[in-house]
Point group: C2
Chain length 123, copies 2
């Protein structure tokens, strides 16, 4: 029990963001979260960054409110973690939780996304 992510974060006095606990995460929901091109892109960027990024750091061809929507879906389905730092909202992949539940899955998806992008883009 040393690698688990706190299901309920210590609400730091700021706005609170509900995350599902590790045990709450369901495969079908994770797949659904990843099955949207925008969200897949978000997850790829987040994975490449290897750390936290603010929402504004990830450029998407949609409006701001739609962006908020996609980030919320990813959070509520257990794919990413979010917390506020000042006015910015930081985002990070929940790698440890996903790896514990579905070993290899996320890496497989990320790899597949990279391969497809290379295949479709550069030819």
């Amino acid at each position: 029990m040393s690698t688990d992510t706190p299901a309920a974060e210590p609400v730091s006095g700021a706005r609170s963001l509900p995350h599902p606990g590790r045990e709450e995460i369901r495969l079908a929901q994770v797949l659904h979260a990843l099955a949207d091109p925008m969200r897949l892109r978000i997850v790829c960027v987040l994975a490449a960054a290897e750390g936290e990024l603010s929402c504004a750091d990830i450029e998407l061809p949609v409006s701001k409110s739609t962006c908020t929507h996609h980030f919320r879906v990813l959070r509520e389905h257990g794919v990413i973690q979010q917390f506020y730092r000042g006015t910015a909202k930081m985002n990070g992949l929940r790698r440890a939780d996903l790896e514990a539940l579905f070993p290899g899955l996320i890496d497989g998806v990320l790899r597949a996304a990279g391969l497809q992008e290379r295949r479709l883009g550069e030819r």
Copy 2:
């Protein structure tokens, strides 16, 4: 070009079932196809069978028409192959195509599905 699946099957005189060619298959669509509990179950059964199964061989807690719908989604998104044998429609996973496009992905999903089922069912 020796391992590719025929994009257009030789319509054997029977009802024809359009399949996407290997190059047509998109990751987001595959994930979407897998992101439904019914379809995930179908795929798991099909993978375990290691061969072709008729639609009726896979019992689902939904009506027949809904069943048809799910099989069609899986076929149109490139996850399964279908063909008629007499009155029965046979189904098979497109393992080779999926493996070529997204190596390891399907196995990862199947493994994750198995793990989750064991985790949620037996405890």
